[in-house]
């Protein structure tokens, strides 16, 4: 059992356990916190895979942004100690069957398939390379999606402000 493996299993276990906790927890704030843990653990996973920038973004954007947003909205819409109602039996059954069947189906399929690891040389994942590619319009450039995303974000920003604003009338 090597170090990376141990780390991976710890991270994986954290992700699975906390995600399950997050959806089954009946206290909504706790659920949000469990979600936070999941996201942080994922950042660790990214880090393991040598994507430091992505891990950082994950931490900042999800942990720092979205989860905070969620917590805010929780605070806005419910009492802090209110408990969620328990899920309905039929929903639980249907969801459970689907989830388990899906996991089983996917896992079996995945495990039957042999992936051939690449023998190519890895490119660097330092900020410079990322930055250059992000702003590039060449074959390996992502300027266009970047711009599109920025427009999308702007639109989302405007949209959410518009939706969330109090009606004048």
């Amino acid at each position: 059992m090597t170090g990376p493996k141990i780390i991976f299993f710890i991270l994986a276990a954290a992700i699975v356990v906390f995600s399950i906790l997050s959806i089954f927890s009946r206290r909504i704030l706790r659920a949000a916190i469990y979600l936070l843990f999941v996201l942080v653990a994922m950042a660790g996973l990214y880090y393991m895979m040598n994507f430091q920038f992505l891990a950082a973004v994950q931490l900042m954007l999800y942990a720092g942004g979205i989860v905070v947003l969620i917590i805010f909205s929780i605070l806005l819409t419910s009492q802090i100690d209110s408990k969620l109602q328990a899920p309905k039996g039929s929903h639980l059954l249907a969801g459970g069957i689907t989830a388990i069947a899906g996991i089983a189906l996917s896992a079996i399929t995945i495990l039957q398939f042999t992936f051939k690891p690449s023998q190519e040389n890895a490119v660097g994942t330092d900020m410079r390379t990322i930055g250059l590619q992000l702003m590039n319009t060449d074959v390996q450039g992502y300027a266009l999606p970047f711009e599109v995303i920025s427009v999308l974000l702007l639109a989302a920003l405007v949209g959410s402000i518009f939706i969330a604003q109090k009606k004048k009338v």
Binding site: P4, F8, A12, I15, V16, S19, S22, I23, I28, A31, A32, L35, V38, L39, M42, L45, Y46, M48, M49, N50, F51, L54, Q58, L61, Y62, I66, L69, I70, S73, L76, T77, L84, Q85, P87, H91, G95, T98, A99, G102, S106, A107, L111, F115, S118, E120, N121, V123, T125, T129, I130, Q140, Y142, I149, L152, L153, A155, A156, G159, S160, I163
Partner: protein, 107 residues
């Protein structure tokens, strides 16, 4: 760090599958809009794991998966922003965030 020898790609993908379906289950069983949103976030993240893992294991000479994950995150942010705006609006309208009670559009 060379992960390929240590952890096979399969592990990553199975992990992401589990997270995805747990997220899906969250969407299916919870009635609270916010928890459903959280489920969706879980699903998005599961997908992100896939992107990143495939990039890392199969195409280390490129960064497509990486950028896709970035874009997904950006979209997730936008989605969360709008979703929460909607949730707040719904809360104002119906004074609840339970999907069961929001059924004005039902036939």
């Amino acid at each position: 760090m060379n992960l390929q020898a240590e952890i096979p790609l399969d592990y990553m993908i199975v992990l992401s599958t589990i997270v995805f379906f747990v997220g899906l289950m969250g969407v299916l069983i919870r009635r609270n809009l916010i928890t459903m949103l959280m489920g969706i976030e879980l699903m998005l993240n599961a997908v992100n794991i896939n992107f990143v893992a495939f990039n890392h294991y199969l195409f280390p000479n490129r960064l497509e998966g990486h950028f896709f994950a970035l874009i997904v995150m950006a979209i997730a942010a936008a989605e969360a922003a709008i979703a929460i705006a909607l949730i707040i609006n719904i809360y104002r309208q119906f004074n609840t965030v339970s999907v069961d009670d929001v059924d004005e559009l039902k036939y």
